[in-house]
């Protein structure tokens, strides 16, 4: 087996591994034989990286004993085939496995090799940098010092020169004086001599009195100022000392890493600093900045050793500011940039009562469940009882969603709120059935005298007079007609529902536009159509009212269960005696907008709405 030595210690492991393999000496000499010569046995060629000096030979599927070469093979065929083939195969598999391991290992080593190179490069760079800095500082100091000395020399020379000048001047003056005196002395004219000699004598006296300053103005010695090399010293020291870490880099929020009350924060180090621990600071971001800046909420602090941390006990749908510092023996790094993270919102609140459906679609409504706004909602629905995948509607902007469905099935629906932190937990699941049209009554629209049962489908008009205070000044409630509207899904299809009444109940049932006048009676305006039952002592009377007009009809059997069928496409509103399947009357009208079912009681009584079952066949025939 030939193994080139690339750097002893590193490949020592491989050699050990190699030695464990029991390679026959024969195969060692056969290095480059192609597979064909081996009679079809597969080879595994292996080399590390681009350096071809490291080679492995495939382990032959020969027996581990060195004598299992080709030579004696043919003779021993029988012997091997009986018990030896299985052994051969297992051994071959083992060896193959070993080779694979070694491949992996060598690859790993390659990586380590590269990393070491990198590290070395980096360290070299650091060292160079450091020393360069020190050298630069030192040379600068030298320059400073030298220039200071020069300056001093100049100064001293100047002062000496000045002194010299002064002396020269003094000399000149005294010479001048002497000359003048001599001249005066040589003067023959006595009278002139007497005149000037006094002045000259005075001058000479004055001059003689003058002290001659012969001291040097400056000293001849230079003071060498003490060079301040303390910072150089610290730099030299710092080469040996681990530097304080640089500011970590905090990552932006990864999607789906946050929960309602926790955030998962990750950061990384820019460089290869050694760090003992990190400190993560966080505080909530308030909507309005506080009046005085000093009362910002205090930041909480968490100490961690890893480069990630999960912060808990937070508020849902809230924004937090986070930053992190790294600390080692030298000191604390500067703070990282502040990152804004957002926790996931609380799940929305979905109520069975707020949804309505029809065979083709369902309208789901919910409440946000969060005080602050969220970005959007995701509606998830799945067919009940099937293993089918759930469908999701994303980026729903408002708190309601109209979904297209298939008729005659039951669906399970839930909603999540979404913000930049991710989606919230799932809300409660409600069941939506697409059999027939299903709706609840809009309790907000009910006249104050009308009370609605707990299940929401029966209304009662009691005898008692309600106090005036109970009369709401609401825009949506009926004020004269004791009526209530139903929450029919706004889909242009066919809808059918039934109303159960008593023999003597005086009622009006039908449909009306959502903005029908709340202070007028159903059927007396152009925005409502209804069937009206009037009970006289002798008989029943029926009217089919719209815009105050009704056809003249007699009905002999009083319906106690009225079927109402609405067909937007055909523009018809039909009324039936549901028990007899008898058609009572049909309005033909092109509805300009979506209509809502309306129900009212003209005298104390009760009626019950039945919906959610499909229309009988005869209704839409």
């Amino acid at each position: 087996m030939e193994l080139s030595d690339l750097g002893g210690a590193r490949l020592g492991l491989i050699s050990e591994e190699a030695e464990q393999q029991d390679f026959s000496p024969d195969s060692a000499s056969q290095m480059f034989h192609p597979a064909a010569e081996r009679g079809g046995r597969t080879f595994q060629r292996f080399s590390v990286g681009t350096d071809d000096s490291l080679r492995f030979e495939a382990c032959e599927d020969s027996s581990p004993s060195p004598t299992g070469a080709e030579d004696g093979h043919d003779d021993d065929d029988d012997v091997f085939k009986t018990g030896g083939t299985q052994e051969l195969v297992s051994i071959r598999n083992q060896l193959q496995g070993k080779v694979a391991e070694m491949e992996n290992f060598a690859g790993h080593l390659e990586e380590i090799f590269l990393t070491v190179e990198e590290n070395f490069g980096r360290q070299e760079q650091n060292l160079e940098q450091h020393y360069n800095e020190v050298l630069q500082t030192l040379s600068q100091r030298y320059d400073d010092g030298a220039s200071a000395l020069q300056e001093e020399k100049k100064k001293k020379l100047e002062s000496l020169y000045a002194q010299l000048l002064l002396c020269g001047q003094a000399l000149d003056r005294s010479k001048d004086l002497i000359e003048t005196a001599q001249e005066v002395h040589r003067n023959q004219d006595r009278r002139l001599f007497l005149k000037t000699v006094a002045a000259v004598i005075k001058r000479i006296e004055a001059f003689a009195k003058e002290e001659v300053d012969l001291t040097l103005s400056t000293s001849l010695e230079f003071k060498t100022p003490l060079a301040d090399l303390s910072d150089v010293k610290t730099m030299m020291d710092s080469i040996n000392v681990v530097p304080a870490p640089s500011a970590p880099v905090i990552n932006p929020q990864t999607p789906n890493s946050a929960s309602q009350t926790s955030l998962r924060v990750c950061w990384s180090l820019f460089s290869d600093d050694t760090v003992e621990f990190y400190e993560l600071y966080y505080r909530p971001v308030l909507e309005e900045p506080p009046a005085d800046s000093s009362s910002a909420p205090p930041a909480s602090r968490v100490q961690v050793k890893e480069t990630h941390c999960t912060v808990t006990e937070l508020l849902p749908n809230a924004q937090y500011e986070l930053w992190v510092t790294a600390t080692n023996t030298t000191g604390i790094s500067p703070a990282s940039e502040k990152a804004l993270y957002m926790t996931v919102p609380s799940p929305p609140v979905v109520r069975q009562r707020d949804s309505s459906s029809c065979p083709e679609a369902a309208l789901i409504r919910w409440e946000s469940g969060n005080a602050n706004p969220v970005d959007s909602y995701t509606v998830e629905l799945r067919e009940a009882g099937s293993d089918g995948a759930a469908e999701s509607m994303v980026a729903v902007p408002a708190c309601q969603c109209l979904v297209q469905l298939q008729a005659g099935r039951r669906y399970l629906v839930s909603v999540r709120a979404v913000n930049i932190g991710g989606p919230s937990d799932r809300s409660d699941v409600i069941t939506v059935s697409t059999t027939g049209t299903f709706f609840h009554l809009l309790e907000d629209t009910a006249h104050p005298c009308l009370s609605i049962s707990e299940d929401g489908f029966s209304v009662f008009y009691g005898d008692e007079e309600l106090p005036i205070s109970a009369m709401a000044l609401d825009d949506t409630t009926f004020t004269r007609c004791v009526a209530v509207l139903g929450d029919l899904i706004p889909v242009r299809g066919r809808h059918y529902w039934e109303v159960e009444v008593d023999e003597d109940t005086e009622f009006r049932v039908g449909v009306a536009y959502e903005d029908t006048e709340r202070n007028s009676y159903l059927g007396t305006n152009r925005t409502s159509w209804c069937m009206r039952h009037i009970r006289t002592p002798s008989r029943h009377k029926y009217e089919f009212l719209h815009d105050g007009w009704s056809p003249d009809l007699r009905i002999t059997v009083h319906p106690v269960r009225v079927g109402v069928a609405l067909d937007y496409e055909r523009g018809t509103l039909s009324f039936f005696n549901a028990d007899l399947e008898q058609n009572l009357h049909t309005f033909h009208c092109r509805f300009q907008a979506y209509v809502l079912p309306c129900f009212s009681l003209d005298n104390p009584g009760a009626l019950t709405v039945h919906n959610g079952s499909g229309a009988p066949e005869h209704v839409f025939a």
Partner: protein, 339 residues
């Protein structure tokens, strides 16, 4: 087999007979076998005779045929056994009749009408085609019977059969419109047209409305639907009815009651009905007290017979009124005939 010219029908029949006789007498060994064969032969002969009779009586002659609304409006004539005269009736065959069996709606016309008024004025063909219903409209009385006095009034005699079986002379022999409508005509229609025998309904106007109502009330379950335009609801109480009944049925009012819709309603028991009645508010005969719908309504209210009675403002007694609401009526019938 030797080839010979196909003998005539009579020849063929007699050949069969001869064979049967030969077989009966000849090769059969046992006496019992011979007996059976003789019986078969007898049965065969009797049936053949009967068929001959029936065929001649159920023979229809087509009088006219016009393509209409995708189907055919035809008029046929036949010899009526009940009325003992030649009678015409109109039949509308919708497109569906070419391939499938269809239900039948019988229309009974009012005073002075023939089978023509309905098919030319009522506008029923489009709706009948849409719903796939065969509409049969017979005449209102026997014709050409040469009875004295039959042409004297327009509201008695010819064109005013009142859909009763007369018991008085000289009417009792021919004026049997009730039996004609309820027995003979349906058999004729079933035998000659692609019909669903158990799906029929009845409808009419004025006197025909009266006819429709009494036929439905007197034959519970026979008609799947019934409706009427301005019917005479209570003939016993109105001038028309009194004149006709006294003429056809005699002075005993108890014989009139079985032909009065209001009376019949009071004692009706049978499958639930669903009666649609349209009445023009400006109908002169309504105001003249000939129609009396209120009586029927109050009886039906009491007896819980479902009726929807619509008083249509501005409409009179004419075919313009019928035309206006014919679609609603055919839809009403279709709901039950096609259910």
């Amino acid at each position: 087999m030797r080839h010979r010219a196909r003998p005539s029908r009579r020849g063929r029949d007699s050949a069969i007979e001869k064979r049967l006789i030969r077989v009966a007498q000849g090769s059969a060994k046992s006496a019992r076998r011979r007996l059976y064969l003789v019986l078969i032969m007898k049965h065969y002969l009797v049936t053949k005779k009967l068929l001959c009779v029936c065929r001649s009586k159920m023979a229809l002659t087509q009088v006219s045929s016009n393509k209409c609304a995708g189907g055919f409006q035809k008029v046929f004539e036949h010899d009526s056994t009940e009325l003992k005269c030649k009678m015409k009736f109109a039949v509308y065959l919708p497109p569906k009749a070419e391939t499938d069996k269809c239900p039948v709606m019988y229309w009974l016309s009012g005073l002075t009408c023939t089978e023509q008024n309905f098919i030319t004025k009522a506008g029923s063909q489009l709706a009948a085609a849409e719903h796939g219903i065969i509409v049969v409209a017979p005449d209102t009385s026997p014709r050409g019977c040469n009875i004295e006095g039959e042409d004297e009034s327009w509201d008695f005699g010819a064109g005013a059969g009142f859909y009763v079986d007369a018991t008085q002379d000289p009417w009792k022999s021919n004026y049997r419109m009730y039996s004609y409508i309820t027995e003979e005509l349906p058999k004729l229609i079933i035998a000659n047209f692609p019909t669903n025998p158990d799906r029929m309904s009845i409808c009419g106007h004025s006197m025909g409305g009266h006819g429709a109502l009494i036929c439905a009330l007197k034959n519970p379950g026979k008609y799947k639907a019934v409706s009427a335009f301005a019917p005479i609801c209570n003939p016993i109480q109105c001038p028309w009815g009194q004149k006709a009944f006294s003429g056809y049925l005699g002075p005993d009012k108890s014989t009139w009651e079985p032909y009065d819709a209001t009376v019949l309603a009071a004692s009706y028991s049978g499958p639930q009905l669903d009666i649609l009645i349209d009445q023009g508010r400006d109908d002169q005969f309504l105001s003249a007290g000939q129609l009396l719908p209120d009586n029927l309504i109050s009886t039906c209210s009491e007896k819980k017979i479902p009726v929807v009675f619509r008083l249509q403002p501005g409409y009179d007694h004419s075919y313009f009124f019928i035309y206006s609401f014919m679609n609603d009526h055919i839809k009403h019938h279709a709901k039950y005939l096609n259910a």
